[in-house]
């Protein structure tokens, strides 16, 4: 196995273990902190594949934005002792059925997918400029619409929070 493969499997294991730990954790804030392992692991896999910009964007948006927001939300609504999730299992059969069928569907789709093992060897470390060029030309409309959507969400959130404007 090459170094890249060893790194890949190590990171994949980190992501999987983190996800499982979140699943079985009873304390919601601990679960939120365990999310770091998952998010950083995925970012590292992106970086390993040469998608540097995507990797850093993953860190920036998920760790810097969403994770901190999540932790803040939980901390402001619970005290650290009360922040445990209610135990017990309900709807085992329905949940199990849905989970297994979703998993099988995903495996089926993955197996049907013709994966190209060929990697772009040229300019793999200069992908940022190419990506920026595409964003500002072919995908400009989508990019701008997403910007407008985010702005609307921001204004909407401010409107909901402020009672009298």
């Amino acid at each position: 196995m090459s170094v890249a493969q060893v790194l890949f499997y190590g990171l994949a294991a980190l992501v999987l273990l983190g996800a499982l730990a979140i699943l079985f954790s009873k304390n919601i804030i601990r679960a939120a902190f365990l999310l770091i392992g998952v998010l950083v692991g995925i970012a590292a896999i992106y970086a390993l594949s040469g998608a540097m910009f995507l990797a850093v964007a993953q860190l920036m948006v998920y760790v810097g934005g969403i994770l901190v927001l999540l932790i803040f939300g939980v901390m402001l609504t619970h005290s650290s002792k009360e922040a445990t999730l209610r135990g017990g299992s309900h709807n085992i059969w329905l949940g199990g059925f849905l989970g297994i069928s979703l998993f099988l569907g995903m495996v089926y789709t993955l197996l049907k997918q013709p994966f190209e093992t060929k990697l772009p060897t040229e300019n793999i470390w200069q992908s940022t400029a190419q990506m920026a060029w595409l964003l500002a030309s072919d995908y400009l409309l989508v990019f701008e619409l997403l910007g407008v959507l985010l702005l609307l969400a921001l204004v909407g959130a401010a409107f909901v929070v402020r009672k009298n404007i």
């Binding site: 601990r30 770091i36 540097m52 910009f53 920036m60 810097g64 901390m75 940022t128």
Partner: protein, 360 residues
């Protein structure tokens, strides 16, 4: 790898001396002598303090979340230290050399925020939790103008790569540089080099950007006048109240590391990175003499000397500011960020874009 072998020992040595310098600077500003007893002029004071810290018991509060409490300082320090991976030190040493260097450094600050939240929450004490809240709220808020300032520089330089940004600001630049960035005058500064080709003079629109960046850097590293998270009178010690011994030392180390990282970033983005401040004047080829030829050992030492020198100078200015200005209130802090710095940074963002379109 080079980060590990150079920046880790450098960071440790720097912190020891920075703590000493901080005490001396504060003492001189307050008309005292500062530490005088340990070693000549008290120079061994920090070493003695450090030894004491290493000997101390590692106390973990009973009601705390044990593993998270222990892991938090490691996470904070790892985040800050990872930032040094992309710092280019000299002409031939680009660190990790990734093309998204600046963007990566912004993400590092976010990781630091998670570590601080973890430290504050896991200690299970009111002081640490409130300290962490304040600290994080402040860091996230000031990240907005900070990021806008970085974007201004990126617009002017057209690159996210810290080494590419460094190359543009000196005699090794391949693109034309004009005096104060005004092409119409036609005074090329490519041959002159020195401080005339630094980003703040290459595009003078970046001078106010630099000021905003400096203010935000103070807030990001939780230093006075923005040290509310550690307001002693209100919160004992902020998010690291419950830490003792080695773990406390690690928190302090990452705090000083953050200062150093932001100073490096400031020197690279605005103050010419590893380029010499001395220009070529006529037959006095000061810039050439103090840069060395590309690839030689001399260029290596000169580059490191200038970059580290500029960063340490900025750190002294940070200390000077700390002991000169009183602490802000929370509402003042937030209004300064959202009502003044952010709009100013956005305005400068547009001005930089116009500058790039019309002047270069």
């Amino acid at each position: 790898m080079s980060t590990f072998f150079f920046f880790l020992p450098f960071l440790l040595l720097y912190t020891v001396w920075a703590v000493y310098a901080e005490r001396k600077v504060s003492a001189f500003i307050q008309d005292r002598t500062g530490p005088m007893e340990t070693g000549k002029y008290g120079m061994l004071q920090t070493v003695a303090d450090l030894l004491k810290l290493l000997m101390k018991e590692d106390i973990v509060p009973t009601a705390s979340d044990r593993w998270y409490f222990k892991a938090a300082p490691v996470l904070i320090f790892t985040a800050v230290f990872a930032g040094f991976a992309v710092v280019p030190l000299t002409l031939g040493w680009a660190g990790s050399g990734t093309e998204v260097g600046v963007f990566y450094l912004m993400a590092i600050i976010s990781l630091d925020v998670v570590g601080i939240l973890m430290a504050g929450w896991s200690a299970n004490s009111k002081y640490t939790l409130l300290g962490a809240f304040r600290s994080v709220a402040q860091m996230i808020s000031y990240e907005v103008p900070l990021a806008s300032c970085i974007v201004c520089v990126v617009i002017i330089c057209q690159s996210l790569d810290l080494q590419a940004i460094s190359y543009q600001q000196g005699i090794f630049s391949t693109s034309p540089n004009y005096l104060f960035g005004i092409k119409a005058w036609g005074i090329s500064t490519n041959e002159l080099g020195g401080f005339l080709t630094w980003n703040i003079l290459r595009a003078p629109v970046l001078i106010p950007v630099f000021l905003i960046f400096f203010i935000c850097a103070l807030a990001e590293s939780n230093r006075a006048p923005f040290d509310l998270p550690e307001a002693e009178a209100e919160l004992v010690g902020g998010f690291h109240t419950e830490y003792s011994g080695f773990r406390w030392a690690m928190v302090m180390l990452s705090e000083y590391g953050m200062m150093l990282l932001l100073s490096f970033l400031m020197s690279i983005l605005f103050l010419g990175s590893w380029n010499t401040p001395l220009p070529n004047i006529g037959s006095m080829k000061l810039a050439l003499w103090t840069s060395g030829t590309a690839g030689s050992v001399a260029s290596f030492f000169w580059g490191a000397f200038w970059l580290i020198g500029k960063s340490l100078l900025l750190i002294i200015v940070m200390m000077w500011v700390r002991w000169t200005y009183p602490r802000l209130r929370v509402d003042q802090l937030m209004s300064l960020c959202w009502k003044y710095l952010t709009p100013a940074a956005i305005l400068l963002f547009f001005l930089s874009a116009l500058w790039r379109l019309w002047m270069i």
